[in-house]
Structures are given as C-alpha cells and as structure tokens.
Subunit: 376 residues, 2 copies
C-alpha cells in the first residue's frame, strides 16, 4: 500500500505543479474533483467521468450519514466499491451541509445536533463521529469537522468560530485512525480577517496535517475578497503539503486560485450548471436553452472533443433541453466536466512551462469575448 504523499514537481511563481499519492492511486495537481455528493456524479457513468480526466471524487458525509448510512456502506465494502470508483476519494466532514440543509441545528463546543432534511430524524455530528463516518466510508482524504463561519461576521464572531474549529481540529487529529495511504486535512478559517487566517494557519500547522484546506470562502464575499484572503493565508501554509480551496469555483476563480498556490478544487458548478443548460466554453458561458440556438448547426464548442461537441449540433442540444430529455443534462454535464478537466490540464502544463501568467492573460481575454454568434 503506497503511503499518502505529495510530490512538488515544479513551480511557477506561487503556482505549483504536483502529484498526490493515495492508497487508491494518484492524482495530479492542480486538480479539480468530480462532485459525487450522494455517492454518484449526477448524470454520469463513472467510466465517463474518468474519461474527462477526473481522478479524485468528493462525496458528502452529511448525505451519506443520513442515507444509506456509513455502516451500510462499510458493510458493502466501502465507498470505492459501492459507487464503482476505484480511484481516490475525498469526503467532506458533513459540517457545511448540516448548516445549509439540516433543520433545527444547534452548535455547541461538543459538536452539532440537527434534524435530517429527509425525515426529521435527530442526529449528532461531533469531530469524533465525523472521523468515524469518514473512516467507515473508507475515504482516502478525510476532512476535519469545522464550522464554516457565516458571511459576513464580526471579528469577534469570526475569531470565536475559528478558534472552536481549531479545537475541533485537534479532536479530529486525535480521533483519526491513521492508515497507510490515507490522509487527514485541516481546514483554515477566519472569515475575511487576515490576522485570523494567519492565526488559524499557525494553529493547524501546530497540530500537523497531511494537507491544508482553505474554508469559509466563496460564501458571498466576492472574488476580490476571496483572492485577498488567499494572499493572506497561503503563505502561512506548509509548502510540502497539498492545499485545497473548498467549494471553488467558476473557471476564473480556479485560475486565480492556482496563481495563488492552490492545488485542489471542488465545485458543483460544472454538474449543476450542466443540468440547467449552462455550458462552459473558452469564450465564456453559453445558455443552450436560448432560442438563438434553435437552428444552430454548430457544435457547442468547436475546440472540445467531448461527446456533446463531437456528435451533436447546438440545435439538438437545445431540443433536448426544450423537450426536458435526460440526455440534455447528461451531455452538458459531460461537456462541463471535460471543460474543467481540460482547463486543469492546461493550467498544469502552463505551470510546468513557467508560462502561467501568459496563459492566464489569454484565458481572461478569451473569456471576456463571449460566445461567437451564429452566422445568418
């Protein structure tokens, strides 16, 4: 069984090109995870997800703890076998979804009690239970339970929230069962306050983790503030461990994150947008439901080799969404995942070639031009 390991292959400014090894294989960084909330990447067969270039899947502890339950997943052989994803899997701690989905939440020093959004049943999630659940799921990368500080927060509220998360991080470290090829990541908090972000980074380093996430961003503070917080946080994280910006983001967020030294990203955007007819392209987003595509013979993105672009006209994709046919979301999800993975591949290559600034400039210029209009 290979040890969990992060290899820094090359750097370009703050940006890093690396590789993470786990018990279930490796993934390249900077990398973007495939979102498998309830143990499935929505609308995709797993082999198709791998064909897009995705190597790491992220599942949600909150969803899996309610249904089918971690004990059942363990009895069925763990998440990899359950969902037919032999590659590396990361699980979040459950904390974020408890705050956004569950009912009657109560946070104390001990943990959080809540009622399921599915059936109202009572549950408790503590740092120790979160570690146990992620262990039962057989997650390769376990995330600490933290409180994602609501935005905006006063300095006082943000400090108290962050410090409790740091005490929880210590309890997670104690409860986590070490296994070869498995990792525990700490999560930096501190809202929009640079001194709290620095204090949090120091606290996490003191405990010692296999990787470091930046949490509590992309929660409404805006891209400029998010980038400022990365600038105020990343320099205080260890150089020799992977860095993960949680829940981010749009393509231009990711480019900005890589430029600032982030290695790992996850976001529901490519899959969720795909299901509603929004496609990502080199020239910005395209809403395929728009009537201008009704007779459009062109592919969605002529530069893309995914099945949606290789085999169909925009007119057909438009028809599928108008007729509410499943194949529409299936094809646009495939396209969006391909777009994201191609972007990550290009970012890795630009970083290797120390060409990232130039790549980013061209990327932003292309994005700002907007979709090519169909000829009349």
């Amino acid at each position: 069984m290979p040890a969990f390991d992060f290899t820094l292959l090359s750097q370009d400014g703050a940006a890093r090109r690396g590789r993470v090894m786990t018990a279930h294989g490796s993934f390249e960084t900077p990398g973007f995870m495939a979102t498998a909330t309830a143990g499935t990447i929505k609308g995709m067969h797993p082999d198709a997800v791998r064909a897009t270039g995705a190597e790491l899947a992220i599942c949600n502890t909150y969803h899996m703890m309610l249904r089918p339950t971690p004990e059942r997943v363990a009895a069925l052989g763990g998440l990899h076998k359950f969902m037919n994803w032999p590659g590396p899997i990361l699980t979040d701690s459950g904390g974020f979804q408890v705050m956004s989905l569950a009912k009657l939440r109560q946070i104390t020093e001990q943990g959080v009690t809540f009622r399921s959004h599915l059936d109202g049943s009572a549950h408790e999630l503590t740092p120790e239970r979160s570690m146990e659940i992620q262990h039962l799921l057989d997650s390769n990368i376990t995330m600490c339970l933290d409180e994602c500080t609501p935005h905006p927060a006063t300095h006082e509220v943000a400090a108290a929230s962050m410090r409790m998360s740091m005490r929880w991080a210590e309890r997670c470290r104690q409860a986590f069962v070490k296994r070869e090829g498995y990792a525990l990541f700490g999560i930096n908090q501190g809202s929009t306050y640079p001194n709290l972000r620095e204090e949090s980074a120091a606290a996490l380093k003191q405990i010692g983790f296999d990787g470091y996430a930046v949490g509590g961003l992309a929660v409404g503070e805006g891209q400029e503030m998010m980038f400022r917080m990365l600038d105020a946080t990343v320099p205080f994280l260890p150089e020799d461990k992977p860095r993960y910006l949680m829940g981010v983001g749009k393509p231009d967020d990711i480019v900005g994150g890589v430029l600032r030294g982030i290695d790992m990203f996850d976001c529901v955007m490519p899959t969720r947008s795909g299901r509603t007819g929004q496609a990502f392209t080199a020239r910005g987003t395209v809403n395929i439901r728009n009537a201008r595509h009704i007779e459009d013979k062109r592919p969605l993105d002529a530069s893309c080799g995914c099945p949606a672009c290789a085999n169909y006209s925009r007119a057909y994709l438009h028809h599928l969404f108008r007729a509410e046919e499943m194949l529409g979301p299936m094809l646009l999800t495939w396209h969006n995942l391909t777009y994201y993975q191609t972007l990550m591949r290009d970012l890795r290559q630009a970083t290797e070639q120390r060409n990232l600034q130039n790549f980013a400039a061209i990327f932003y210029e292309q994005q700002s031009r907007g979709d090519i209009e169909a000829l009349a």
Copy 2:
C-alpha cells in the same frame, strides 16, 4: 445505396429468422426497436444503446412535428445526423399519439385536426402530410397514417374505422416518395374481429407494401385476445415481407409474438420501467425501490453483463432510486434494454436451431419462479 430488402433466413413453425436491409444498414429479426420518442432514447447515449444490441430506432412523428418540426430536422441533415443514430430509423405515423396526447381532436375522412398538448397550437395530420413529415425526417421505414381503433369497439365501429384506415393506406401509398433503401409499411386494423382483420390484410396486400404491421392491439384487450388476433391475422400477411407488431410489449408478449410469426417489436416498457425502478430479469421483474434491497450485495441479475449488473450491488441501485439520482434510471434503462436485446438474440438463435418451443417453455417456467430472495 442498398435496396430495402427482407431476407428470410430460417423458420421454426410460424416463427421466422430474418434480416432487413435499409439505406442505413441492416437489422436482424426478430428484433426489438430502441424507443427514441422525441429523437433520443431516454437516459442513454446512442453508443450505449448500440452496445445493448439494438439496431433499429423508432421515433414519433407526433412529437417531432410539434418540436423541433420536421422542416428543422431536414435543414439539420435529417434524423440520423440530428440524433447521432447512423443506423436504420422507423417512424410511426403520428396518428396514435394524436389520439392519446393531443387536445380537441377531430377525425374526418380527410385526416385529423388537433391542438398541440405543448402550446395549444392548431395542426392537421393527413395521410399526405404524415408521408411528407416522415420523408423530411429521413425515416427508413415510414408507417401509414391509420386510426388505432379504440378498444372495445362494436363490429360496426371497428369495420368503419378499419375501412377508413385502408383508404388512408391507399393515399399514403400514393403520397410516399419512393427511394432506394426506404420502405413504407401498411398497418392492419380490425379490432378484435377476425373477419375484419382478414379483410384488412387483403386490402393492404392489394395496395402492396414493403412490410406489414399489426396495429390496434395491446390497447386493453389482454394477452389472450391479442394472441388470438395474431393467429387470425398473420396467416393472411405476405410471407416475403417483414411483420411488425406495434407497441408490444412485455417479454412474454414478445415470445408469444415471435411464436406466431412476428418479426419486429417496439415498446416503451424497458425504458419507462427502467426510469421508475422496475428491472426485467430471467426470473421476472424486480422493483429495486423495494426495501428488501437496502443491504443486498448481489447484482441485479447475475446472468447479465450490462454495467448495472457488472459494476454495482442491488443496494447501490436501491440507494440511487431512493436518493432520486439520475444514475439510477440510467443504469436500469441500460439493463432493461440489454435484457430485451438478449431475449431477442436468444429468440433468433432458438429459431435458427428449430428449438423455439423448448426455449419458450423454459422461458415461461423461469419467469414464473420469481426473483431469488437474498440470503439472510
């Protein structure tokens, strides 16, 4: 361009093993079509449909005439290109869906006027317009416009309805534009009256078609009556042309149809049932939503090689349906299409080997045994 052609390869009693050639390739008979109502097989990429063994797709004239319109499909290069299905395509006439879906229908000798179920817009479908639409769609097998006589019907009503359909069949024959590799099929009607079925068969033969469908069955008359009507109809159809039992059916309906000399079948059952969690197996149907599967480690059907059976436990499939995840319908649709195509392959083989009676006896015995219970 190959001519449209039916080759009878072998026979076993009334059952036939054959091959149909079209301008877009051939398909083996007895064969089951892939249902692509609105220009897509629901929940499936076309290459996956082909991987199940399906060779012929059926699209619905009613749906395509309303949206995206046949003129648009023609401008986009025809249905094969539009939906990325290079193989043979059959289209129905639109008549059946007009009667089951449209509003304010009025049938006269001229044709049928109706309002769209989508937006209330007024439309007219005549034998001539149905031929034109199917021509614009570039369908390899065009079906005559007929009236699917409602069930039950008095002899008088059934006779009048059937005779109008025969007059429409003559108009379809006149309006159909002959092209190499393209075919026009007549449709036998006559409700549950053997003498009307025989009269209809004679009328169709008199006009002369490239294939003969049996319509107006599987509309509530029950399997026994349906088989009686096949016994009263098929002997009066030409031996050297393919025979198509429209909208049928359950696996045991198909076995009974093949035993009675039917070559082609279509039904929404494998795709529609797949979307609601019902799976077809050698041991009858399984409802994967049933709670007994919640911890069931077994595959859906150990004898099946489809992705649903090869890669997942029943517990996982159950979880997908409980969580309303798209992959559930996607996997069960794939399984059901595989089940149907495997059944057709076995029926063809048994017919070649003159072993069909024996095959059918084993089939019915297996089906009656029911799903194997999970071990405790």
